[in-house]
Assembly symmetry: D2
Homo-oligomer: 157 residues x 4
């Protein structure tokens, strides 16, 4: 295991299955199918692994996965980082995402290995490395920021 | 007219209608409907205006336009900048896109006002300002880079 | 005047001179000389103009202004946007800055035209367009985010 | 050793000492002192380690390292990645750099662990993770793009 996967005392409060149940409800367009287009495979302290099963709607000419579909995977990876480590009370929103595209991603499975770079009270910063194809080469790399709203005193979202 | 819309001797070689015909062919998933989800409204020297008609598939809970849909609009805006000023011979590809989300975009029309910041032989850098809603407030802002492949000597793409 | 310079009901609370006095105190290395390397020229609702007088220490081979010096100008532009519109009580800090370099900046004056894209309670997002040379061509473009700490209840920082 | 440090068949053509001699010549302001403010410590296939010894000129109030100084370290890290893997014939230039600031860096040593994400004929994309302080915590993370000019046929730069 990559030593960098061990976060700085980060401790998830939700497992991958709980995350997927939650995603199915809030993002039915992207995560509601069976199997869902986007889903969490694994959650660990300080990070997670999310997967896109790229079908026709995610492709560009030449049967490569589209930029917006890769963006969505990185964005969901950041959301899963926040959700699994904070819990579903406070719905985080993306404020910034920067993505570099390195190689074409062939149709099929795309994985995003995500890591929390900082989890503060108000902001979470993460990075996502996207791999695809037989050699699991890097197809894209993203960093982003989620804003974490304050939890209301009543405990209800 | 904003003086900054006048590019540095930039001259488009395709009109908005020609751009849309081309987009319909190469991106049938995003630009093939009638009317298309994404299309070019106007092309001018050094920039363009592209529009998303956000329907159910582009929405998030609360009837706001999803991040990936706004990313796609900015990305298509950059593509239209490159396509309209270079022509369809060389197919540009996104290498970097950075997007900041400012406010929620309500369901409906989202416009991206795009401007070429640099059009070199190998790279095009652009910015896109996304507006939506009754007050046409800024909902997101993006900058990005397209890599422009060399045109083959034979004149065929 | 560019209509986009008019912010959404933004109202500065400090003038350029007050800003410069403040900068001189907190950033003596960058803003303490006479004249200072970096200074505010103008503040208006929703934006500002800041200037770098690039001397030897800011140059790279070929007498062009270095990347870090241009980064610093954009960063100070964002800081002046926040400072002039919030006041000196809460010291904002940069959380993200993305910069694209378009052309070499010749030695001499570099200006950054800065615009607030969003001024929220916790975050300010801005863009900066850097121009230099006789033709005032665009040499770089940046967008960034400042985190705004909560003001303490007592009114004292 | 982190498996991710092993690049995809990347092979450096210069050692850290050769890199530093070159940096001393081309960036005398930043790399010319004894010891230099910025220098390469190590070069390996697909990456490098560069270091800033932060003195007074690199500090902000509170004795923390300034944003531009951290930007410069990440930028030099990318430059060393390109230089050490391509050689000194073609002088690469930064076209984009995105940096997230996570924590304050105390005065003293700051290290940037840099990794090539893609080394193409025309572009190199890299990431840099900056650590500082006793616990070597992450203080900033950057990704960037260098444009690689074509080498002239004569073999002279």
């Amino acid at each position: 295991m990559d030593a960098r996967r061990v976060g700085e005392n980060y401790q998830p409060v939700m497992r991958a299955e709980e995350v997927n149940t939650f995603l199915r409800d809030v993002f039915p367009q992207a995560c509601g199918g069976e199997p869902p287009d986007y889903r969490a495979l694994e959650v660990w302290p300080g990070g997670c692994l999310v997967r896109l099963e790229a079908g026709f709607r995610h492709l560009r000419p030449g049967d490569t996965v589209s930029g917006p579909s890769l963006f969505a995977l990185a964005d969901i990876g950041g959301y899963v980082c926040a959700l699994s480590h904070i819990g579903p009370e406070a719905l985080a929103v993306t404020t910034n995402l920067n993505i570099n595209f390195m190689r074409k991603a062939p149709a099929g499975t795309v994985d995003a290995h995500c890591r929390i770079l900082k989890l503060g009270k108000r902001l979470m910063i993460f990075e996502a490395e996207l791999t695809a194809g037989e050699a699991s080469g890097i197809v894209a790399h993203a960093t982003g920021t989620y804003s974490i709203p304050p939890v209301s005193g009543s405990g209800k979202p």
